[in-house]
Amino acid sequence: MNKKFMMAAEAVERFIDDGDQIAIGGFTVTRNPMALIRETLRQRKKELYLVVHSQGQGMELLIGAGCVRRVELAYGGVARFAPTGIRFRKAVKEKQIEVEDYTNLHMTLRFMAGAMSMPFVATRSGLESDIVRLSGFSKESRGKGRVPREKLKVIDHPLDPEQGKVVVLPPLNPDVTLIHAQAVGEDGTVRIQGLTFADVEQAKAARKVIVSCEKIVPTEEIRRDPDRNCLPHFLVDAVVHAPYGAHPTACHMFYDYDPDHLNMFKRIAADDDTFRQYLDEWVYPFETQQAYLDKVGEKQLEKIKADPDLGYAPGLDRR
């Protein structure tokens, strides 16, 4: 077996350090790399610096468990289950984390610039807004560690002054990117099915990439149809086989989001005690993904299993 393949415990221990800048793939309730995030909590990683576009359940756990110091984001919510992330909201209000706001396009372009080694990237999105006017991180933090020297800048169009003002943004090159994919080849080649969100840009921009996946397939199989693949093997540092590794968020073609779990989370998340109980019950005890799945239970996994034609669980009670 390829030496990139390892357990979540080893991947997180080897590749994530306290204080690292971490990008997380997925979107609100879909393909959050939850198995990797739970392991990050279990190893009590600290002072993480999250860089995300629209993050949901994964960021809720990381912030809630106190692993996070800084966040650059465009959106913190778990869709209808928590239009504003409950632990995120609380941490902002209680000033437990420092936050800097961007838009989804800003964050995507910054990951893309990092992935493509562009020195910076320009857009007109956000002109005149407080996103452009206000910086969330302190002046003292600027230019230190991974905090960019400038959040962004508004400049005159350098090629054609008649085109007015534009916003220029710094690239992102996170220390580590965590994503969850449907399949990885034995060579390390990654395949995502359905929407890719900004996972590909996030992974290419990173110094280290950890991918968890639903299944591992032979190299010949994944290379028989390379039009469907999105990350070459040599950009991937660790692969973790984690079936249902995005639970309780969805993984297109494999399973839906788990409305029962997310509603339960919503009920317990606001209170520090009940939230801690959640971690003690659902996160800290499980050294392996299989142990976690045993806790979720076969019946629940069956309930959210995707229809092979539709890619989600039709008729699932999602209230």
């Binding site: 629209s54 838009t103 989804n104 995507t108 005149e128 900004a198 890619g311 039709p314």
Partner: protein, 267 residues
């Protein structure tokens, strides 16, 4: 009233009527998806719905509850990602219309979906822009859903997330935006538009179950009522389409009570 309907139904239909055939619709979930879908079924058959997550023109057999829901990945023309989808907003050959919501709106349609209080000392945090600021910056037009309350219709935003008509007049174009600006605000009480010259919000239509005065009372800034007319109530076709074809489980429409009951904000 012959047919009973809820404020949510009125809002979805009122917004849907603003869609033109051929529009490329940037939808969120909730009412915006209902508005887009009802428009497609009734009068704007060639309108296309897309999501910032990358799902372009999905079949929407089941209603998605999130823009990243696997239900937006089925039967699409293309499954892509954020970069592709958000770029479509600004595409010069498309007439893109974005549905947005917010916590606060000012008289020029600028939006706050980030926080109450100040950036340094937030009293309440909301999710943030997501793609809203992008859509407000780049789409050909925006249609904004709001709950009509004084604390939401404010003279000055606590945080300026998404650009509308800025300070009115030509200020949007002068700032460097190449197109766009809010077309309408659809609330649980009525439909508001923006003056062609001043770009300030005015009341365009009030629902059959409200009055201009009630709307003025629930608006935190001076609002011109002089052009207001009554909105046509939902037609039977509209209501049937919405209830039977689009949201039969009332996942988004919510409980079936009369508009007069559900429409008024609790204060």
């Amino acid at each position: 009233m012959e047919i009973d309907y809820t404020a949510n139904e009125m809002m979805a239909l009122c917004a849907g009527r603003l869609v033109n055939n051929g529009d490329i619709l940037f939808a969120g979930t909730g009412l915006s998806m209902l508005a887009a879908t009802v428009a497609k079924r009734i009068h704007a058959h060639e309108a296309v719905v897309f999501f910032e997550t990358g799902g372009i023109d999905p079949s929407l057999i089941e209603l998605p509850l999130a823009v990243g829901d696997p239900r937006v990945m089925v039967g699409t023309s293309v499954n892509s990602g954020l970069a592709d989808a958000l770029s479509l907003l600004a595409h010069p050959k498309l007439h893109t219309v974005a549905f947005l919501g917010a916590a606060q709106i000012d008289p020029y349609g600028n939006l706050n979906s980030t926080l109450l209080g100040s950036y340094e000392k937030p009293l309440q945090r909301f999710p943030g822009s997501g793609g809203a600021c992008d859509a407000a910056s780049m789409a050909s037009g925006t249609i904004i859903f709001m709950q009509h309350q004084r604390r939401r219709f404010v003279e000055k935003l606590d945080y300026f997330t998404s650009p509308g008509w800025l300070t009115g007049g030509d200020s949007r174009r002068e700032a460097g935006f190449q197109r766009g600006g809010p077309v309408a605000v659809v609330t649980n009480l009525g439909l508001l538009k923006f003056d062609d010259r001043t770009r300030r919000m005015y009341l365009s239509e009030f629902y059959p179950f409200t009055t201009p005065d009630e709307i003025a009372e629930n608006t935190g800034f001076d609002i011109d009522l002089s052009r207001a007319v009554q909105c046509s109530p939902p037609t039977k076709e509209e209501l049937t389409t919405l209830r039977e074809q689009i949201d039969p489980q009332r996942l988004i429409l919510g409980p079936l009570k009369t508009a007069a009951d559900s429409g008024r904000p609790k204060r």
